[in-house]
Amino acid sequence: YAFDALEPYIDTPTMKIHHDKHHATYVANINKATEGKDEVPILDLMANALEATPVRNSGGGHYNHAFFWELMAPHDKASKTKPSSKLMAMIDKSFGSFDEMKAKFEAQAAPGAVFGSGWVWVCVNLAGDELKIVGTPNQDNPLMKGVADEVMLPILGLDVWEHAYYLKYQNRRPEYVSNWWNVVNWDKVNENFDYVVANHVGVNVKG
């Protein structure tokens, strides 16, 4: 989608800078860090990312942002999507209801929960039978061994680094988070869910 596609929930300048500058820098840096080595899909670098700081920061940054862009869509498209019945069943089982899941997610995204820069995720556990919500710092993600209590497989994620929302929302992170639901593409989230439950590995991303 175009840089202005997620207006008014995420503004055009943010999308442009977030993609062309922030994400691009992570890509450049992970390429620099892996120069001369065999080409490996970014997903495969995630498991052991904590062993090498550039992989953790720049590799994580690349995976997280590539994952993030794919799960959003312009509101007129996103608003027609919803969690599949299989996903809803697991949401109800894990959180009680969709609204309770949303509330738990927003609490995890609040400034007092993720203390600085980081991400909030809805994940499937490795066994594929439960959903969990987890916050991770900086460019960590739950695919990385040692980051969360156990390795988990993200199906939905939100960037809460200040660069993700500052131009439009300044310090008003809760407003950014509640507006973001308007551009979540549940078709893609459903696809992520089906994939990780069937394969017990993380979703592949482009690039």
């Binding site: 820098t25 400034p111 007092g112 600085g116 460019q139 660069h163 300044q170 310090n171």
Partner: protein
């Protein structure tokens, strides 16, 4: 036990608390309030006024950034610190150790945020001149010169992953100047023992309006608005 503690009150502080508060230094007033109230944490903290106008540090830092940074971000840390301290007071009064420990994150984050930003505003000024004196001498001895110091501090500060701070500090155990960084709002002295002399905020909110993602440009520019007098006062205070 609590009852007997309340009866034994320092008479000088009791007298001090009866003087009009505008005549009392803030820290005496707080100590007096703590003694006389059931607030062992000493009562409410306040957002300090800036020593200059919001536009004073332009073009290095815009008035828009200063306004948001001071009246929104720092103010929120103060508000939430007060909330956390109220909870701490209740937990202490109830003897609830688990609740006391549970407040650790909120205290470090909001207390650190308040401490860090208070130090930060004070070490900025439109009047920025490093004169001959003990600070300049110490920098030259430790780093070979002012440019050498700026180079080390800038490099480490720019390299902070995510949110955090860069500091020029004094190691009180060695008497030497050191350069340190901290993540999030972790306060320097409480977590490392180093005494903060000069702080640079590299949370994105500190520079995003003016510099977008280009943190190095912000760090380069901020050297133009450092209040070297305050940094030197801190050095001298730390050396006592």
């Amino acid at each position: 036990m609590a009852l007997s503690k309340k009866i034994v009150i320092d008479s000088t502080l009791r007298a001090a608390a009866n003087v009009r508060s505008s005549n009392l230094p803030y820290d005496i007033l707080k100590a007096a309030s703590a003694r006389l109230s059931s607030a062992p944490s000493g009562g409410k903290h306040m957002l300090p006024d800036l020593p200059y106008d919001y536009a004073a540090l332009e073009p290095a830092i815009s008035a828009e950034t200063m306004t948001l940074h001071h009246s929104k971000h720092h103010n929120t840390y103060v508000t939430n610190l007060n909330v956390a301290l109220e909870k701490l007071d209740s937990a202490v009064s109830a003897g609830d150790v688990s609740a006391i420990i549970g407040l650790e994150g909120a205290l470090k984050f909001n207390g650190g945020g308040h401490l860090n930003h208070t130090l930060f505003w004070e070490n900025l000024s439109s009047d920025s001149e490093l004169k001959e004196g003990p600070l300049k001498a110490a920098i030259e001895e430790r780093f070979g010169g002012i440019d050498g110091m700026k180079s080390v501090v800038s490099a480490k500060t720019v390299a902070v992953q995510g949110s955090g701070w860069g500091w020029l500090a004094l190691d009180p155990t060695t008497g030497k100047l050191e350069v340190a960084t901290r993540a999030n709002q972790d306060p320097l002295q409480a977590t490392t023992g180093l005494i903060p002399l000069l702080g640079i905020d590299v949370w994105e909110h500190a520079y995003y309006v003016d510099y977008r993602n280009v943190r190095p440009d912000y760090v380069n520019a901020i050297w133009n608005v450092i209040n070297w007098d305050v940094v030197e006062q801190r050095l001298l205070g730390a050396q006592k």
